[in-house]
Amino acid sequence: MSKQIIYGVFDDEEVLISSAKALRGQGVKIRDVFSPFPIHGLDPVIGIKPTRLSNAAFFYGMFGTSMAVLMTWYMMIHDWPMNVGGKPSFTWFENMPAFIPVTFELTVFCAAHGMVLSYLLVNKIYPGRKAHNPDPRSTDDMFIMEIQTVDNKKVAGSEIISVLRNTGAIEINQKEL
């Protein structure tokens, strides 16, 4: 049997989930699902691990906090201490209340932008990239399940197609690789 991609097209996300569950029950590996909106509850069914982007955001935020502390210490305490309105400028800690707003803003700035940049990077999306959704309807009202025969040595392609058909796929497309 040649290498094949099978696309199961659904018009309802709940039907797709139950179909995915049936396929997984038979040991079929699902390569991906393309949908116009996030389908809640799908990730564990098709075996997608939770993203670690929020951990990354935490570290970007910590980086922002450290940079703000370092910057305010260097500029206001170390390099050129200023006596503004008699406020203390001997140690960073004494002057710290005045530095809280900037520290907070830089924390948020770094966390948000760092996270979004990582998001674009790991999702591999950037201006000029060509989209690779199999069917333009998948950003409108169709939910498309992608199964590759190379991932499923034990289950025959015809078997997968019949499960898809029986569990509510309205259309099944095949593509030879």
């Binding site: 997608i48 910057m71 390099d79 707003p101 948020v108 999702n123 999306i125 333009p136 950003t139 009202d141």
Partner: protein, 458 residues
């Protein structure tokens, strides 16, 4: 899946919609031709914007002496407009971030345009402090740059510098939050284009989004974390703006109530502006099924609560000035109500404290015409609030010989009208090129809150 709404709740999507129909309805303004109403509105806005640019150019060329400022009232019109515009921006972030955290599903039809409004309002706001620098080409001196640019580093003790950090963080974070949400919707628009040019443009705008399961999983995480970050951020922005005043020793400014009072006022004025825009937009773009009376009513409820907070804050200020026993404070407030600027004080009181209370009546709360009129009142009232706080506190000095009045010049007024023009020009351009409703997010609630008994055909 998304839980079913209680049947007592009004549906958030009217008409018999399917997923495809939502795409069609939201894509229509982008793909269709502009109607005459749009062309007229756009021409007026663009002319106003051009007029503002001319006034800006005159100010830059001649110096800020062309404004109505004098040695007693050192900042007035510009900072009033700055605070007003920043405040308007706050509703967008509140809708998209705070209501997301509270899982308020009615935000979905309005968050996109409210966030756009935030971004355009912050652009208008930022113009004023930059202009007030006089030599705008030295604006980069507010950045923490090495001291060969001047003699010192920037002063991190100053709320004005905090503002630089707050506004720039707020602007850029709002922008990426907005754009992150736009990417999948641009992909929807891209995939339905037949003309190669349109397809190319929306292909670039959509960053090659394909909507795979992993992409969506990350998308949801990013939205949630950005909402969590934007929530304290938006509260910090107007807090810091209020500290521009509260950390000074001017009677009428030196009060600890300022941060929460400014934040409530900002949300109040922002929602008023959202209503002003959306009541027109839903009509012009035929989005009545998505931006419903239920949405308008929910926003009106927020107007009642924030308007009441603002009202209580006004009364608290009066009480505290009396109770403090500080005669300068007492005079400042007496002068606001009965001095030469009494008309601005009472305009503020009427527009901000009395008119929004009309929303306690369900009939008024659910009437589009009444809401539109009251939203205009609130916009005006909140402008006067800033004018009252700034000008009436400054025009009476500790030294009676320097008492004076502030009169805006032709240029002052021109610049303000110009920013309104810029704001509406940008918003109108947005409304014809961007998906004005987060259409894919909206599809997630179609099954649970629409009039359609069995939404997607099955």
């Amino acid at each position: 899946m998304s839980h079913q709404s209680a049947s007592i709740r009004e549906p958030l999507i009217l008409g018999e919609k399917t997923y495809h129909q939502i795409t069609e309805d939201i894509a229509k303004p982008i793909e269709g031709k502009a109607n005459n109403l749009f062309k007229i509105l756009f021409t007026i806005s663009a002319l106003l914007a051009l007029w503002g640019v001319a006034c800006f150019a005159y100010t830059i060329g001649t110096g800020i002496g062309v404004w109505g400022l004098n040695k007693t009232v050192g900042w007035a019109w510009d900072i009033t407009n700055f605070v007003w515009w920043v405040g308007i921006g706050h509703a967008g972030t509140l809708i998209s971030a705070i209501l997301l955290l509270f899982r308020q599903r009615w935000r979905m039809s309005i968050n996109r345009s409210a966030e756009a409004m935030t971004i355009f309002a912050v652009i208008c706001a930022a113009l004023f402090p930059v202009m007030h620098m006089g030599r705008v080409w030295l604006a980069y001196w507010v950045l923490p740059l090495p001291n060969q640019f001047g003699s010192l580093w920037v002063n991190f003790n100053s709320p004005l510098l905090w503002d630089v950090f707050a506004i720039s963080t707020y602007f850029t974070v709002s922008l990426v939050f907005w754009y992150t949400g736009l990417i999948p919707d641009f992909a929807t628009i891209r995939d339905r284009q037949v003309k190669p040019k349109m397809k190319r443009i929306y292909s670039i705008l959509s960053f090659g989004w394909s909507g795979s399961a992993k992409q969506w999983s990350r998308f949801e995480e990013v939205s949630l974390v950005l909402a969590g970050l934007s929530t304290p951020l938006v509260l910090s922005v107007h807090t810091i703006v209020s500290m521009d005043f509260a950390t000074s020793v001017i009677p009428g400014w030196h009060t600890t109530i300022f941060p929460p009072y400014f934040v409530a006022g900002a949300v109040f004025s922002g929602f008023a502006m959202v209503l002003t825009l959306l009541i027109i937009m839903r009509k012009v773009l035929h989005l009545e099924d998505y931006i419903t009376i239920t949405h308008v009513e929910s926003m009106n409820k927020i107007i009642i609560i924030t308007g009441s907070i603002v009202g209580v804050a006004y009364l608290t200020e009066l009480f505290v000035s009396w109770y403090s026993g500080v005669e300068y404070e007492q005079y400042a407030f007496l002068n606001r109500a009965t001095g030469p600027y009494w008309w601005s004080y009472w305009s503020m009181m009427t527009c901000n404290v009395i008119t929004p209370q009309l929303f306690w009546f369900k009939k008024i709360r659910k009437s589009l015409m009444a809401t539109f009129i009251i939203s205009i009142f609130v916009n005006i009232g909140m402008w006067f609030e800033r004018f009252v706080i700034i000008v009436t506190s400054l025009h009476r000095d500790y030294l009676p010989s320097s008492w004076t009045m502030f009169h805006p010049t032709f240029i002052d007024i021109g610049i303000f009208l110009g920013t309104i023009g810029i704001f509406f020009t940008l918003f109108l351009l947005f409304s014809r090129t961007f998906p004005v409703i987060a259409l894919n997010e909206l599809k997630t609630i179609l099954k649970s809150t629409s009039e359609n008994p069995k939404p997607p055909h099955h």
